[in-house]
Symmetry: C2
Subunit: 430 residues, 2 copies
């Protein structure tokens, strides 16, 4: 005899419809294996009469959040409205009414995880958010329930499919950023207003969640240095490849002793790094732990069914845990080392790719090398070729240097008459 | 106040010592986060006085299995003896005494999972085996607890580090199989008797476990077609690369309708496939599900700490589940579709790379093409070059063909006077 679990949906867009489909199809077996029958009892929508591609009995639609959070039969609530408000408020209402919440809302979780977990703990109910990061890739559960025995000290993630699609196409087809972005918008891979993806904000929210889980420490989004791919040109990509690198928008979190660095920016990685094999709109998350060593997860970071796969998994896990009254709240350490204050380091050390346009005359390289030397920046490789008459491109890759040293050196470069332009500065990770 | 969990170890080799170290170090925090304190109470060893690199109070060593399985205070038993017997018997004894077992024993799990799960169910206790496949990669938990909502229909895995190390070195350094195997043995990456790895048996056991979990159906090891890498030459690898392929020992499981195919063999995959980026002794497991799409996990498939990471994770999960009396036994479907008998298909359809040595004279290609045509095998590409006087190598890649058609065509080739030798036949997967 299967136990019925009544579920309320908040929102019924693309992801909501994907979850509905999975539950109605293969998901029936998945719930039954654990002894449950899932019943989608109510769905909060703005317009019940909107034309939808999916066949749902309209009587379960409601426009009132109260119909869901106040329904005593509903024990699980799945939120996929997106955006900060009113989603956050609805999730809070649900938790306060002792309902377990499953959400795919990266913005709400990145900004309010600690608050929401505290409310969940107080009400002895559950909060799950596998769908909030990297779609179908089960990175949240792996961090919480498979790598628990590890001191995780590094994460490098390709966690935004839109920018990875654009960078792959630019690289493989030699096309410009604008051209590929336009195509991605036509194909629906990029939003009409692409800023959220292109400028790195989407990856920033996701990195906040991942690094909080990995380090058991709250990582506020405003501590994350964030730089998008808007300024990347095909010249950067081509010169990088010549030096043995692939370009990716990486979300990076590192921990050493009591220091944390968190940053999202375009990054060169070696062509034979496993993350370099993450092409098109796929996501890849590379983790280093003291016991497990290097681990990578790769898969579809978005889409109705991949994200639905994560959400339905959470709904099944939540059903099991609710039955046994065992909830999961180990995100932020309390008690063990509360006093253990972490410092956010923004003067990190890494290698740098620097592309400049300089005057094409003797002695230029010596002058530039002198400026780098003055700031303790040592050079690993240089490309200088293709004379353009008066000016010529020159590319440096540095050895490991402090961010501040590079910034200071670049300031000096801009005052040096032989340097016509500093075209781009791209960090390199090994 | 932390709840003490008493653990007994069966065996204390490399992996056991890794688990011990993790529990004594970072693992303390990991257990405490969930409310537990782990106490390693007894360790079964053959010789308590053997010199060990690890500092352990000798009073916890015992040579009697009874001291562990009959100790009422011990609730969790971790087995890392390896081999079929007496490990299987000890695991059975432990389960019958209502102790939860965590094992890394691929042979016992591959051969006896159904039997052991039934005993665990009968005794209302737990059985966990994350460490039995792919070391630190949490593939068991991902299949059971993250991809539950998926109908999984394909697995392709690089799940033996020794053979992957050998194939990577052969490919990247142009060295012979024998030469690299010898080096791997010197470095400790290959056993003095390498047959278990080289001939594919290790991968066969692991594939049995993975495919049973993925398909919720018992996949006996003797249903798995298994072929090792012994006959791979540098010529195969070089010609393959020229055609755009990397060579890997793949463990493949596919399900379609009520048909299953399971096979372990050297396989060419496209150079831009994510599995082609799995180099050296790393493992990679590529999964296709109806909702999640393509998913890959990559990491260290062996070693004391990576495998220890998986085992300690199981010990923590088991502690939580034991407290709540919720055990995990959804490996094989019962009830839903017991009548759903699966067929094991050994006449699969794939592409083939066929390398032959033929007489160097006009009309040879036409003769061979005629033989392929007679067996309905159509050719996708041919390489013929470098005349060696009387003989010349010739390489064909076929379009998708049935295994039986290829075998029949090869039989005819061997009776055809212009064919001097069929050097190798390697399957190709896209």
């Amino acid at each position: 005899m299967l136990k019925e679990v009544n579920i309320g949906f908040l929102g019924f867009g693309n992801i909501g419809a994907g979850v509905y489909k999975i539950i109605e199809q293969y998901g029936k077996i998945s719930f039954a294996r654990e002894g449950f029958k899932a019943n989608i009892k109510k769905i909060l929508v703005r317009d019940a009469n909107k034309r939808r591609d999916i066949n749902v009995d309209k009587s379960i639609f409601t426009q009132s959040i109260k119909d869901i959070v106040d329904d005593p039969e509903i024990t699980l609530i799945a939120e996929f409205m997106g955006g900060e408000e009113p989603a956050r408020q609805y999730i809070l209402n649900a938790l306060e009414n002792k309902k377990t919440v499953v959400t795919a809302n990266k913005e709400v979780i990145a900004k309010h995880l600690v608050e929401l977990e505290n409310v969940a703990i107080k009400n002895n109910t559950g909060l799950y958010f596998e769908g909030s990061v990297a779609g179908g890739i089960p990175i949240i559960k792996v961090l919480r329930e498979s790598l628990q025995a590890n001191n995780i000290f590094e994460i490098k993630g390709i966690i935004n499919g839109t920018t990875n699609y654009i960078l792959t196409k630019m690289s493989e087809e030699g096309r410009s950023f604008k051209d590929v972005l336009f195509e991605a918008q036509q194909l629906g891979y990029a939003e009409p207003d692409p800023a959220f993806d292109i400028e790195g904000l989407d990856a920033m929210f996701k990195l906040s969640i991942l690094s909080s889980l990995a380090f058991h420490y709250e990582i506020p989004v405003d501590k994350i240095y964030t730089e998008g791919i808007n300024n990347i040109t095909i010249e950067d990509i081509n010169f990088g490849r010549e030096l043995g690198y692939a370009l990716r928008l990486l979300a990076i979190a590192k921990k050493r002793d009591s220091e944390i660095e968190v940053r999202v920016h375009p990054t060169f990685i070696p062509l034979n790094h496993p993350l370099a094999a993450v092409r098109n709109s796929y996501n890849g998350i590379f983790i280093r732990g003291d016991a497990v060593g290097d681990l990578m997860l790769y898969g579809k970071g978005a889409g109705d069914l991949p994200t639905g796969s994560a959400i339905v998994s959470d709904l099944i896990t939540a059903s099991i845990n609710n039955e046994k009254q065992r909830h999961i709240y180990s995100t932020i350490d309390k008690g063990f080392h509360d006093s253990y204050g972490m410092l956010f380091n923004d003067n990190w050390e890494t290698e740098y790719f620097i592309r400049m346009t300089v005057k094409d005359k003797p002695g230029v390289l010596a002058k530039i090398a002198g400026i780098f030397g003055k700031h303790d920046v040592s050079i690993a490789s240089v490309i200088q070729k293709g004379r353009n008459g008066d000016s010529t491109p020159i590319i440096f890759v540095t050895h490991k240097s402090k961010e501040i040293s590079i910034k200071d050196a670049i300031k000096d470069m801009q005052n040096e008459p032989v340097v016509m332009k500093v075209d781009n500065i791209i960090r390199v990770e090994k």
